[in-house]
């Protein structure tokens, strides 16, 4: 993987689609170059660790705690909708989600 960490604009286009970011051809090309440089530098991470090293996902070892399930104060729907780009009938108004067919 270290030799072939170069990223093509086509790959970036796929990643941009997964990330829901519309991008121009110029942006895709520029990002492909920048990402290749970064990956060339960081790709060696898998060369220095063996299977015997456990992964750390959280810096401080804490056990998960649950609070009592009590009803507390929440935002009113008016407050929750106040910053919405569009709202109607006490709900968020969103563009069409399902296809026509």
């Amino acid at each position: 993987m270290t030799e072939s960490s170069a990223i093509t604009p086509e790959q970036v286009a796929h990643l941009a689609s997964l990330s829901r970011i519309a991008m121009s051809e110029d942006e895709l090309a520029a990002l492909a170059g920048g990402l290749s440089t970064i990956l060339e530098n960081v790709a060696r991470v898998n060369e220095v660790v063996g299977d015997d090293v456990p992964a750390t996902s959280h810096p401080i070892a804490l056990s998960n705690v649950l609070r009592p399930d009590e009803v507390g104060a929440t935002l009113t729907s008016e407050q929750a909708l106040a910053a919405a780009p569009a709202a109607a009938d006490d709900k968020f108004l969103v563009p069409q989600i399902l296809g026509e067919e």
Partner: protein
């Protein structure tokens, strides 16, 4: 320069308590200073004059009634615009949140309000805290008060410039890979990244959740310590918040001694890649520490060589996940595509294209790549294992020394536009000395180490996780020893700013 502007936060607190002056006077002096200098420094995205003066007046009234107040009541503070403030626009320096007025309160702002600190405003940052120059802000340029042609560092660049420009005596920043310590180093101020979980992240706009930590900033170690004490403590609203009691960091900073303390110089964080001026200033601080009775030992933290690589995989991975919430549906910007069908998916893509800046997009794409099927184990998985190695190496090093030390950054503040678009790694390398602490969750502090070519150099002190007290007990007396030895960086600054 108004007499109030040059005072430390603790001096202001003492004067307020004794009734020598009022919070309204102090707050107004800082607001005047902001008005007079903001065109030069550009530290703030939003200045909250009315709110600050209302708080100041309220504190003055309560004090005159003899109410029991917090030690810092009436001392103004600036908040990085990544801290959610109910009813006050919070932008994260991003166009996607340009007009967002939060309907809820962060724990940090809640504590600041409860203690009666007037909030002067919201300071500038790199968009969503991604960057180390504050150039990646959608809300204008912040300049380094030491030299307006240089960046203030970042991402808490506005927070640091507000301190160095004497616009605020205290600042709240955030540190994901050095975003409090590096701008502190670049501006001759003090910046602290506490142990992960020391200060609640509830209401701090998330960048990389396993690395983000709120950081108190001031113009002295004791000032930063006082703000740390105010902000720290367990918060049921943040499940990663530590249940530990809060130590008296101010007393530790003021009463500590260097005598017999073992300072471990991290071998991997000095030498190649570090400016000669930075190395000289760092060595000079070690000499002062040694003269004050500290023992200087060179220590090996080998995995630090790979920490940068691991960080630049873990951080963007968490970024790509955290920033998925900006979808243009519930709050923030919404942009419809100019051509083609208007569906939820195309609106999200158009919104995120228009709302995010180039660096944010780059990190989202990089993180999406590192987390995608087929690459996950090699990149994200390996990076998490390196994180384990870094923690182990730090733990081993702390068996032989009290604290670890290094220059905070390899260079002094860069000039504007130094970043090369084609080589993002060149700028990322500037985080090499600070980000290991975020990977390991340990506390770190940067204090002024003198000047190199007229620009400040930072000296970093690292302590084991949940041992923030140790960091203050060294940094406090070290600052005092440096001042006794004639290195008062802030005096230079204060004189330079008196026009």
């Amino acid at each position: 320069m108004s007499e109030f502007i040059a005072k430390s936060a603790l001096e202001l607190a003492a004067g307020l308590t004794s009734g020598e002056f009022s919070s309204v006077e102090v707050t107004q002096a800082h607001l005047d200073r902001i008005r007079d200098t903001e065109e030069d420094f550009g530290s703030f995205i939003t200045v909250t004059d009315d709110l600050a003066l209302a708080t100041a007046k309220d504190v003055d009234d309560r004090r005159s009634r003899g109410e029991d107040l917090h030690a810092l009541a009436g001392v103004p503070v600036a908040l990085k615009d990544l801290v959610v403030t109910e009813g006050v626009r919070t932008t994260a320096a991003s166009k996607i949140l340009e007009n967002w007025v939060p309907p809820y309160e962060s724990t940090v702002h809640l504590k600041v309000k409860a203690a009666g600190l007037p909030v002067l405003g919201k300071t500038n940052l790199d968009e969503f805290a991604m960057g180390s120059t504050t150039e990646h802000s959608a809300f204008g340029t912040t300049r380094n008060p030491w030299n307006l042609e240089h960046v203030p560092g970042g991402s808490s660049g506005g927070a640091a410039a507000a301190l160095a420009g004497f616009q605020a005596p205290l600042s709240v920043g955030t540190d994901t890979g050095g975003s409090v310590r590096q701008p502190a180093a670049f501006t001759g101020t003090v910046g602290v990244k506490p142990t992960y979980g020391s200060i609640s992240r509830y209401g701090i706009i998330a960048m990389a959740s396993s690395l983000d930590q709120v950081g108190p900033m001031g113009r002295s170690v004791a000032d930063a310590a006082a703000l740390h004490m105010l902000l720290a403590g367990h918060d049921p609203l943040d499940s990663t918040s530590l249940p530990d009691p809060v130590d008296d960091f101010v007393a530790l900073a003021q009463n500590g001694t260097l005598k017999g303390k073992k300072l471990g110089v991290i071998k991997q964080l000095i030498g190649e890649g570090y400016d000669a001026g930075v190395r000289d200033a760092f060595t000079a601080v070690l000499d002062v520490a040694a003269a004050a009775g500290a023992e200087i030992i060179e220590v090996d933290v080998p995995s630090i060589s790979y920490a940068l690589d691991a960080y630049y995989l873990i951080m963007p991975s968490e970024v790509s996940s955290n920033l998925a919430r900006y979808d243009g549906m519930r709050y923030g910007l919404r942009v419809e595509p100019t051509e083609g069908p208007v569906t939820a998916e195309t609106v999200m893509a158009a919104t995120r294209a228009a709302g995010f800046g180039a660096e944010v997009k780059r990190r989202i794409i990089l993180g999406t790549y590192a987390l995608s099927a087929g690459y996950y184990d090699a990149y994200y998985g390996s990076a998490q294992k390196i994180r384990t190695l870094v923690q182990r190496d730090f733990a081993k090093a702390f068996e032989t020394v009290d604290v670890l030390v290094s220059p905070t950054a390899p260079t002094t503040a860069l000039k504007f536009g130094a970043e090369s678009a084609s080589d993002p790694m060149a700028l990322y390398l500037g985080d090499v000395a600070t980000l290991p602490a975020n990977l390991a969750g340990i506390p770190g502090l940067s204090l002024p180490a003198g000047l190199a070519d007229g620009l400040p150099v930072g000296f970093q002190v690292l302590a084991p996780a949940r041992e923030d007290r140790r960091m203050y007990a060294v940094a406090g007396p070290l600052e005092a020893a440096l001042e006794a030895a004639g290195s008062r960086v802030l005096d230079t600054l204060a004189e330079g700013l008196t026009k």
